[in-house]
């Protein structure tokens, strides 16, 4: 595959400035730049729109409040009252993934959520945090999480390993879901964009129309994956409180 036209070329990381710290390469790259933009967009939007603190909100303030209420509702529906203290974390996670995906939808802009290392790091934070939380809440009893009550005893040798494996694969499924969605979506867009150029005469409008439709779908997926990431985090937090 020619590297120049590869649909995967968009995922390549280009250092903007080379930085090295303690022997490690921590260059500020286009991925870092996308993260910077994401963080700036979120913080500036959520700060400036609520700056007036109006009782009767402006449209922009209303958007911030809707996002706030959306995640607050999600958390209280899945975890209940215990969930309130994790609200800032879940909200940050949701906004980071959502705006990261949205920033990636801007043409020529890098999508950091299409990198498995990034999504895996986020998922690992959730996984490790939730496991620690489970041990804090239940101590050694947390291991009974893998024991399913009401099942015939001879099934346990089979079910307990399955439960353990499914628990351990949580960070993988959580990260791969987001990563694969972003990777596939952006690759598909790029492939069809190639068709627009390479197809003869006016026939290029057909893949172009497809790209327009696909862009809409991708924006939907960008939201959906952020939502899924947030709701699964909520469910895992709930599991740390309520064993079977």
């Amino acid at each position: 595959m020619a590297a120049k036209d590869s649909p995967l070329k968009q995922f390549e990381i280009d250092p903007i400035s080379n930085i090295e710290l303690g022997g490690y390469n921590i260059s500020f790259t286009n991925s870092s730049f996308a993260m910077l933009i994401t963080v700036l967009v979120i913080t500036l939007f959520l700060t400036l729109t609520v700056n007036t603190r109006s009782i009767i909100p402006s449209r922009m303030q209303l958007i911030s409040e809707l996002m706030y209420n959306f995640i607050a509702q999600l958390l209280s529906d899945t975890v209940g009252d215990n969930g309130k203290r994790y609200f800032p974390f879940v909200f940050s996670l949701f906004m980071f993934v959502l705006i990261g995906n949205m920033v990636g939808m801007i043409p020529y802009q890098f999508t950091f959520t299409s990198h498995i290392i990034v999504t895996f790091a986020l998922a690992a934070v959730v996984f490790i945090g939730v496991t620690i939380l489970g041990f804090i809440n239940h101590g050694i009893k947390f291991f009974t999480f893998f024991y399913i009550p009401g099942v015939p005893f001879y099934m346990h040798p089979l079910l307990i390993p399955i439960e353990v494996i499914s628990y351990l694969s949580r960070p993988i499924s959580l990260s791969v879901r987001l990563f694969a969605n972003m990777l596939a979506g952006h690759t598909l867009l790029k492939v069809f964009a190639g068709f627009v150029v390479s197809m003869p005469f006016f026939t290029g409008v057909f893949p172009l129309a497809f790209i327009v439709a696909l862009t809409g779908l991708e924006i939907l997926i960008a939201f959906l994956q952020a939502y899924v990431f947030a709701i699964l985090t909520c469910l895992y937090i709930n599991d740390a409180y309520h064993l079977h």
Binding site: L21, T29, P88
Partner: protein, 163 residues
């Protein structure tokens, strides 16, 4: 696939940690409390307005009750006054009627007395006429001069016949 190239793994993780931590702390400490304050203030305002609306409604109901009481009271008072006036008028009318009756009775009795008196007078006149006529008639026929007393006596005895 560039995603599996470990060359920039550390860089990505480092900047992810930096930016996500910043985002988390910033939202936790600055943005979210702000939104929460706004939402709380709005809820308080709504609650306040609702409670004051309730209070006003109660006051309105109280005033309405007072108005109704006043109306009822006034109605009763008016009824009483109307009754009193009717009674007074009736008394007045009946007393005037009775005095009129008395007047009429008096007038009637006076008239009756006059009638009786004039009747007596007429009867006396008739008697005198009868005496005179009888005296004349008897004088012309018999040349007997009768005294008035004798004639009166005779007439008294025959009075029943021409009455």
């Amino acid at each position: 696939m560039p995603q599996l190239n470990p060359e920039f793994f550390v860089s990505q993780l480092f900047w992810l940690a930096v930016f996500f931590t910043f985002l988390f702390v910033f939202l936790w400490r600055v943005s979210l409390p702000r939104i929460a304050t706004v939402l709380e203030r709005r809820q308080n305002k709504i609650d306040e307005n609702l409670s004051s609306a309730k209070e006003l409604q109660e006051q309105a109901m109280e005033i309405e009750k007072k108005i109704n009481d006043q109306i009822n009271k006034t109605k009763l008072e008016t009824d009483e006054k109307i009754k009193e006036t009717i009674n007074a008028l009736q008394e007045n009318v009946s007393s005037q009627l009775s005095s009129l009756d008395k007047d009429l009775e008096k007038k009637v009795s006076d008239a009756e007395k006059e009638i009786l008196k004039s009747k007596d007078d007429q009867m006396k006149n008739i008697n005198n006429e009868i005496v005179n006529i009888t005296k004349l008639t008897v004088g012309k026929i018999t040349d007997i001069e009768l005294s008035d007393n004798e004639l009166n006596k005779v007439i008294e005895t025959h009075k029943g016949n021409f009455n």
